[in-house]
């Protein structure tokens, strides 16, 4: 009876976010007083705050109350568990959780099941028992950047990876995606893959050291934007800006600014706010009694100077843009 352990990157029972309306109709009517609870990893990173804004935006649109809480710091596993348990006991109708780790919210899954509250696992760490997952394909982040290098540097060269915290799902998957894809092109060589621990300062130092040993480096792939912005500074102070490409992940606003300023080469945006909206839509459709596929894939795109204007700026309706992207991909 048990579900197979979820791998959000490979699960077959999936649907792309753009198909939700097409397959399941317009948004159904919600029961009165629906309360949705979001439990995030941390609020110290813009990505997670934007996700929450997406929750709230969609909740407001359809008239559901949304609470959005986060652990006190990234890695505070038991604190996050306490929060989620509190939400189960205090009568939320659905939970949207972004767990610190694959396992730390497991008890909530059980308690919620008992209380008949659906739980949606939103992004990052993947709870094996999750019945519903909304998020992007983590591995794909790395794959997209690797493809960029293969396309834009046909002559190949040395590349380096700045990893997130050791052992964290997103960091492992993103790094693996980049490594395996770039490894297919024998002209590229990964000369360094070192920990930056999501920390700007540590990434700066690591990049400085790598650049000094490999001044002919072609580019960096960083597991998130904060680290990438640190690496950009290191590249700048080594006088290699423009020669060494730097990619981040997440698409936070500072990354956009940096790309626009011609410093950061690109970021893989996973559209946190949109993800939040999609996740909330999924969650509330569940509350309304719909049966949905196990995984709802959310959009992502590699943003560079070439296409940045398409995704940001005044008057850009990101939903429409992404919808068009999805359609053309189909």
């Amino acid at each position: 009876a048990d579900l197979a352990p979820l791998n959000s990157d490979t699960e077959k029972d999936r649907i792309d976010w753009s198909q939700l309306e097409a397959k399941f109709g317009a948004f159904p009517k919600l029961p009165e007083g629906t309360k949705a609870g979001g439990v995030s990893k941390t609020l110290t990173n813009e990505y997670w705050r934007s996700l929450g804004q997406g929750y709230e935006k969609f909740g407001k649109k359809v008239g559901a109350t949304v609470a959005y809480q986060a652990a006190q710091s990234e890695g505070d596993q038991l604190g996050q568990l306490t929060i989620a348990e509190g939400m189960v006991t205090t009568g939320y109708n659905v939970l949207l959780v972004s767990p610190q780790t694959d396992a730390n919210l497991q008890p909530v899954m059980e308690q919620a099941k008992e209380a008949k509250i659906p739980v949606v696992n939103v992004n990052d760490a993947v709870i094996p028992q999750a019945e519903h997952y909304v998020g992007n394909v983590q591995k794909d982040n790395g794959v997209r950047v690797a493809k960029w290098f293969i396309q834009n540097h046909p002559e190949g060269g040395k590349v380096a990876i700045i990893e997130g915290q050791a052992g964290v799902f997103a960091a492992v998957q993103r790094t693996a995606g980049f490594k395996s894809t770039i490894g297919e092109d024998k002209k590229f060589q990964v000369v360094a893959s070192v920990p930056g621990n999501w920390d700007r300062q540590q990434s700066y130092d690591a990049a400085t050291n790598i650049l000094q040993q490999h001044p002919d480096l072609v580019g960096f792939y960083c597991n998130n934007d904060g680290m990438a912005l640190g690496v950009v500074e290191a590249v700048k102070s080594a006088g290699l800006l423009g020669k060494v490409a730097v990619f981040g992940t997440d698409g936070i606003s500072d990354a956009y600014k940096s790309i626009a300023a011609g410093e950061l080469t690109g970021t893989v945006d996973s559209f946190a706010e949109m993800t939040g909206e999609v996740a909330m839509e999924t969650a509330l459709r569940l509350v309304a009694g719909q049966k949905l596929p196990r995984v709802v894939a959310t959009p992502q795109a590699l943003i560079t100077k070439d296409n940045i204007s398409k995704y940001s700026g005044d008057g850009v309706d990101i939903r429409a843009v992404l919808m068009k992207d999805a359609a053309s991909a189909q």
Binding site: T42, G75, Q77, L78, I83, N104
Partner: protein
């Protein structure tokens, strides 16, 4: 500062009283916090939520008890989190590999004690400072857990094991019962056995203890081994709850445990600490977290509240009790 030698009344520090004035102070603190939340949050004092608080405090209480003994002996153990992680991933992988539950538990507790033993030997025989020893093993043990699992969680822990630590007896969660028993044992150790006296003596004046024939090295090592054991036990409870063991489990546990012990009256200078106080300290921290969450306080303000409550708890204690 005005009178450096004036000190608390004699009674409160009698080693025979099982509930000291100091502990009463901590209890009052707890009651205050509960009262405040009871007013602000409907349902806070419901039976279900109170049991929740106990359960949510149980792991920290377990770790903090070991920490208390180490602190009493004049040391500190920063490596409890990684110790728990090592023992969790070992137990879980043995279980997943099909070993019987008792074997996996013994192995897990055993490796926890081994981690404690290494700390203890480095402190007692090699003579290094406890803070720096356990700062070093903090990284080392974490790295070992990560290397052993390749950074992946160990999933699929069987229900037989899980129900042992995650079930309940008459509505009381097993974890709470386990920690209550452990607290009783720790209390007996501290109050009723020679090793308890030795811990207090070594932490109070190491040189005099040595001259008086106290087995210093053995005493210190015992404290660290117990701390390792309790870290491992905390890990078992957590694995039981989560159904999985992760190599990054136990992050920052040491700070929570030290905070609980300190709120409960342990002095980081050694020679002082209370089992009852530590348990109350852990419950204070747990109640606070629970209450703030139920009040839907935003993460940054929760962090603020955590910091302030630690400070305020210590200040109230300081005022009610005089210089400790």
């Amino acid at each position: 500062m005005s009178d450096i030698t004036t000190s608390q009344p004699a009674r409160s520090s009698s080693p025979f009283s099982s509930f000291s004035v100091r502990d009463a102070g901590t209890l009052i603190g707890l009651i205050l916090i509960v009262a405040v939340f009871a007013m602000l949050v409907p349902g806070f004092v419901s039976e279900r939520n109170l049991i929740n608080i106990l359960q949510q405090s149980s792991i920290n209480a377990c770790i903090a008890l070991g920490m208390t003994l180490v602190i009493i002996s004049g040391g500190i153990d920063l490596s409890v989190g990684p110790t728990a992680a090592i023992s969790a991933v070992l137990t879980a992988s043995l279980l997943v590999a099909g070993y019987p539950v008792p074997v996996a538990i013994v192995a897990g507790l055993g490796i926890g004690m081994l981690c404690g033993l290494v700390n203890g030997i480095l402190v007692a025989y090699v003579g290094l400072q406890p803070f720096i020893v356990t700062l070093g093993t903090l990284s080392t043990y974490r790295a070992l857990a990560l290397i052993y699992t390749g950074g992946n969680p160990v999933l699929g822990v069987p229900m037989t094991f899980r129900s042992l630590f995650n079930g309940n007896i008459g509505g009381i969660p097993n974890s709470v019962i386990i920690v209550a028993v452990i607290a009783l044992v720790a209390w007996v150790i501290l109050k009723k056995t020679p090793i308890g006296e030795y811990l207090l003596a070594v932490g109070g004046n190491e040189e005099a203890s040595y001259v008086a024939g106290v087995p210093i090295a053995l005493t210190k090592i015992t404290a660290y081994v117990i701390s390792g054991f309790l870290a491992a036990l905390g890990a078992m409870i957590l694995v039981g709850r989560l159904g999985a063991a992760e190599p990054i489990l136990g992050n920052l546990w040491e700070l929570d445990a030290i905070a609980a012990a300190a709120i409960g009256g342990a002095s980081l200078m050694g020679g002082k600490g209370s089992v009852i106080g530590t348990i109350l300290g852990a419950i204070i921290l747990g109640a606070m977290r629970n209450g703030l969450t139920l009040m839907n306080v935003q993460a940054f303000y929760q962090l603020l509240a955590t910091g302030l409550i630690i400070l305020v708890a210590m200040m109230i204690d300081r005022v009610t009790r005089g210089r400790g």
